[in-house]
């Protein structure tokens, strides 16, 4: 995405909302969705549009886990670390992912392909341990299945992958 495109996309997102501070979070979510993170210029532009301090938006952006100020990977892997998943070895999945991808939860691979996140209960405790990749649920996981799943996403690129359990 070129610089100009970037700026015009930001403007497009922001101007879809009325000038009112209560839309700040919605606009930031849209930015997160469009760019996989909230660019600094996006934050500045939104602050100017809404007429509120940039620091206030920064505060919100750092508070919510759904918002990121650094670019996230193309595929986002969420490991459920709720009670049931934790007991059934969610941390082992995280360790396996670290072995495969070389990143800790909360980090993004250097090539920008994968981000790993530890999340709280995803509400599928009966299927523990659960891992969600790009919105697809992989449940009752065993550590041995992880490399295969990673490979399928790495190979598929943008292609749709159906959940396999």
């Amino acid at each position: 995405m070129t610089e100009v495109n970037h700026a015009s996309k930001i403007a497009e997102i922001i101007e879809a909302y009325p000038v009112d501070q209560r839309f700040a979070l919605a606009a930031m979510q849209d930015m997160q969705h469009a760019f996989n993170y909230i660019p600094e210029e996006g934050l500045a532009a939104l602050a100017e549009y809404l007429g509120c301090p940039q620091a206030q938006l920064y505060s919100m952006a750092t508070f919510y886990k759904a918002l990121s100020l650094t670019p996230k990977g193309e595929h986002i892997i969420k490991i459920c670390n709720g009670t049931a998943c934790h007991l059934r070895g969610a941390m082992n999945l995280a360790t396996e992912l670290k072995r495969d991808l070389g990143i800790e939860p909360g980090e993004t691979t250097e090539n920008g392909e994968f981000s790993v996140e530890l999340v709280n209960c995803l509400g599928s405790c009966a299927l523990a341990p659960v891992m969600v990749v790009d919105g697809n649920y992989h449940n009752k996981l065993r550590v041995e299945q992880i490399p295969g799943i990673i490979e399928s996403y790495a190979a598929s690129g943008a292609e749709e992958v159906t959940a396999n359990d």
């Binding site: 934050l43 509120c52 940039q54 920064y58 505060s59 750092t62 508070f63 100020l69």
Partner: protein
């Protein structure tokens, strides 16, 4: 007035209006409730340090409330220093004291209380901030909203966006002056003030030579089209008084 209420605070009868905060009524009647995050300059109180807790007995029930934001809604008996309050306040001092071990004020305020039994708490090294957010409130109302609380949970702190020097900060020191524990660091030489990673040039009074503030903060005070003053407030008043005397021959 019809909606005046009489309450008893530590045995003293006090008259107040409905909706007044306990802290204000107590203060007016010479009863001092300790607090860290309360500042008279603001109408909204943080109610964050919770040191100002008091016991309220109303209709036979007793509860502990935060006096800086608890509006009195009827006759009641308030105790600001009962045994229960002292005990609970000691816990609060202990928690804040371990959160901000460098803040000497907390130690001073708690020295009369029994502070034993908190040995298991772990202190945060070199921390002075109790995260009350007064500085953010001050910056939003007096300054330019250059700082805010960032992150959350144990990582929460007060900072400028991206921890970079803020182009909106005017270096007015409102944040540092309002901080109850003196946690906001800044340094100042004869000509430069450094705060929030940024250097500001200082303006001096043309008459007495005292520091008037940073160029940016003086500009912020007079507005974008205002005329920049060359002399400080004290000298301006003195000059005005002299003019008056010259005009009217007497004061």
């Amino acid at each position: 007035m019809s909606d005046m209420i009489t309450v008893t605070i530590d045995g003293i009868e006090c008259t107040c209006e409905k909706g007044e905060y306990i802290y204000d009524v107590a203060k007016r009647n010479g009863i001092k409730i300790p607090t860290l995050c309360r500042h008279d300059a603001f109408e909204d109180h943080r109610a964050c340090c919770r040191i100002c807790i008091v016991e309220v007995e109303q209709r036979g029930r007793t509860k502990v409330v935060t006096s800086c934001v608890y509006p009195i809604d009827g006759e009641c008996e308030i105790r600001t220093n009962s045994e229960r309050i002292q005990e609970e306040r000691a816990v609060l001092y202990a928690l804040l004291g371990h959160r901000a071990p460098e803040a000497e004020l907390i130690g001073k305020m708690s020295r009369r209380l029994d502070m034993s039994g908190f040995e298991r708490l772990v202190s945060i090294d070199n921390e002075k901030c109790i995260l009350c957010g007064l500085c953010v409130q001050a910056c939003n109302s007096l300054g330019t909203g250059a700082i805010s609380t960032v992150l959350r949970g144990t990582e929460k702190k007060v900072a400028t966006p991206y921890d970079e020097p803020s182009k909106f900060c005017v270096g007015c020191l409102s944040c540092a002056n309002v901080c109850p524990t003196g946690a906001i660091e800044y340094s100042q030489t004869d000509t430069i003030r450094t705060i929030w990673h940024r250097d500001f040039e200082l303006l001096h009074c043309a008459e007495c030579g005292e520091v008037m503030g940073t160029a940016e903060s003086v500009r912020h005070a007079v507005g974008p089209d205002g005329e920049l003053p060359t002399i400080c407030d004290a000298c301006r008043k003195k000059r005005l008084a002299n003019e008056m005397m010259a005009t009217y021959r007497y004061v």
